[in-house]
C-alpha cells in the first residue's frame, strides 16, 4: 500500500475556497463537508487523507508531522511562528492585518494600548518601528475595545472594512497582506517529496491562471 499524504484543512472562512482550489487541481475532495461533522476523510484514489481542524491548530499539526501539509492563513503563521515550510501562496482568503483606531480621535497617548487577537505580531510590529505599546490580548470582537476604553487602538484582520466602518473605526497602518498558505512538515517535505511536488505543481498552475 502506498503511504497517504495527510493534509490539514482549516474549518471556517477559507475551507470552501481551499476545497474549490483542490478540486480544480484534480483532487477528488467532493466528500469533504464541514457540516457532516466528520473530521477525517480518506481519499483512496488520490492517496490522500484530509482532516478538519481549527485554523490556529494547523501549524501545530504540521510542525509535529501529524499532518504532512496544511492550509492556513499567513496571520496565524506569523502569530504562531512554527518550524514549518511555507510552500505556496494559495491566493485565497485575501485580507489585511491593520492597525485601526476611532475615527474622530486626532491625538493618541504616547503609551498606546492595543487590543488584539495577535499579541506577538502586534508587539513585534510596534517594536520594529521603535514604539512601545501595551498589548491587550482578546479572543474576538476586538472592535469593542476602543469603544469601551479598554484600548486606544486595535490590530485586527480586515477584509472589506465594513466591520471597522460600522464600529466607527478607521485604518491607520497596514501591517501585512494576508492570504492562505500551503505549509509543510520538515520531514514530510523530504520523505514525501514526489507527492508534495506534484500537488504544488498542480496547485500553482491553477493559481497562476489568475484565480
Amino acid at each position: 500500500m502506498m503511504e497517504l499524504l495527510t493534509i490539514a484543512l482549516p474549518k471556517g472562512r477559507i475551507l470552501k475556497e481551499s476545497l474549490d482550489l483542490l478540486k480544480k487541481a484534480g483532487v477528488d475532495c467532493y466528500k469533504i463537508d464541514e457540516k457532516s461533522r466528520k473530521l477525517i476523510f480518506v481519499l483512496e484514489k488520490s492517496n490522500m487523507k484530509f482532516f478538519l481542524a481549527k485554523p490556529l491548530d494547523i501549524p501545530t499539526y504540521v510542525e509535529y508531522g501529524a499532518a504532512d501539509l496544511g492550509i492556513v492563513g499567513k496571520d496565524i503563521l506569523m502569530e504562531e511562528s512554527r518550524d514549518v515550510y511555507e510552500l505556496l501562496d494559495m491566493g485565497i482568503g485575501h485580507c489585511r492585518l491593520v492597525v485601526a483606531g476611532p475615527k474622530h480621535i486626532k491625538e493618541y497617548p504616547t503609551n498606546l494600548k492595543i487590543a488584539t487577537k495577535f499579541p506577538r505580531i502586534t508587539e513585534n510590529y510596534f517594536l520594529e518601528s521603535g514604539r512601545q505599546v501595551e498589548v491587550i490580548k482578546l479572543n474576538g470582537s476586538v472592535e469593542l475595545a476602543p469603544m469601551l476604553n479598554l484600548a486606544d487602538k486595535i490590530v485586527d484582520i480586515v477584509s472589506t472594512g465594513v466591520t471597522l466602518e460600522k464600529n466607527n473605526l478607521t485604518e491607520h497602518e497596514q501591517i501585512a497582506e494576508i492570504t492562505a498558505r500551503l505549509i509543510g512538515n520538515k520531514v514530510s517535505f523530504r520523505l514525501k517529496a514526489p507527492m508534495i511536488d506534484n500537488l504544488i505543481n498542480n496547485l500553482s498552475s491553477i493559481i497562476g491562471r489568475g484565480e
Binding site: E63, Y64, E86, V187, F189, R190, A193, P194, D197
Partner: protein, 402 residues
Amino acid sequence: MDSVFSYKPDGVRDFLPELASVKREVEEILYGVFKQWGFEEVITPTFEYLETFLMGYNFNSAEKIFKFLDRKGRVLALRPDMTTPIARVVANYYKKINTPLRLCYFSNVFRFEESRGGRQFESYQAGAELIGVSGLEWDAEMISLAVESLKRLGIKDFKVSVGHTGFLKGVLDRLKDEKIKDQIHECFLNKDFVELKKILDSSVLNEDIKKLVMNLTRSSGNLDNLEAYEGFDEYKIIAEAAAQLKEIKQLLTIYGVEEYTAFDPSLIRALDYYTGIIFEIYSPVIGFPLCGGGRYDNLIEKFNGSYPATGFAFNIEGILEILGGQKVISSKSERFYLICYDDVSREEAIKKAVKLRQNGYMTEMFKSKNVQSGIEYGKEKGFNKVIIFNNINEEVINLNKG
C-alpha cells in the same frame, strides 16, 4: 493540599524505569558502535559561561539559552548543545593534533522553546565529533557511522539527506545587493518560499540566479543540473559544492550506505556554524529530524585552536519514539532470582542473596510472610526463580514457562 511544588515544572520530563531502561540500552548500543569506530567519550560540565556558547551561536539563539548568575555576577548558562563545549575542550587541551581526534558524548542539553506544546526544554543527545582532519572521506565516515548506528538499533526505515552549505553560500555570494541578499538568506532560514518567490519576482536578478535560488526550494535534488556551473568563475562555490557531493556519493557507496542517502539541495543549516557537507536523518514515524550534523571548520578557531571538524548528534527522544518503548536487546535485561523471606529467615535470606550476587546473578529481596504474594510479584516482574524461605527451609520455585 496540592501544591504545584509537589510536581515537576513544565518542559522537563521524568523517565520511569520502563523508558529509562530503553534509553540506557539505546545509549549503550550507540556507545558500542562509536567505540568500534574509535570514538572516545568526553564529559563536559552542565553549565559554562554564556559567552562560551555565544561564540558558537548567532545572536538569535541566545534567547533560547537558560541563564543564571554565579556569585561574582557572571552569566552562566546551561549547555544548549554539545558541539560548542567540545570545540572549547579541544582548543583548551589538545594543543597539537597530529592524528584525527574522535570524541563522542551522551548528554542532556537545554533550550528554551517559546511555542512548546510537547517540546521539552531538556532533551538528550548522543553525538560524535571527528576533529583535526578535513577531506570528504571524513564526512563520509560520519554519515556512515550515523547510518550504522541506526541499523544497530534495529531502525531500518530512514533517509539521510545530504546537502552542502556551498549552495546557499554560492547563491548569496552572487547577489550584489546586500538588502536582497539578507532577505533571501532570511527566507531560507525561515523556510518561507512564498516570500522568497515574491522577492525574486520583484527583483531585477537575472534568470540564471533566480533558477538557482528556486532550485534550493526542492528537496529532490539533481546533481547534473549543477554541474553545468562548472568552469564559470562566478559559480565557483556552487560548482565546488556539487563536485564534493559527487565525490562523497562515491565514498558512501564504498561504505555501503548509499541506499539510505539522497542529495538534497534544500537542506539548510545555520551558515555561521557549518562550512561544508551537512546532513539530516528522517524517519517517517516522527515529524522532526532524528539526527543532524555536518562540517564546521571555523568553530574551534573561535576558542584559539584551529582545527577542521565534522560531527553529528542524535536526538535520543526521537529514537525512543521510533522504537516505541520497545526493548532493543531483550535477553540482557532479564530478571533472575527473587528471594521471599520473613523475619525468622532474614539472616539466611541475606546470606543467600550475597552469594547469588557474588556469582553474578541479579537478585532482589522481597519481604513477606505471604508466600503467594511473593510468587505473584515475581511473576509480575518477570523473575525466573523465586526462592522462598520458610523458617530456615529453602524452596526454589521455577517461574519460567515450559
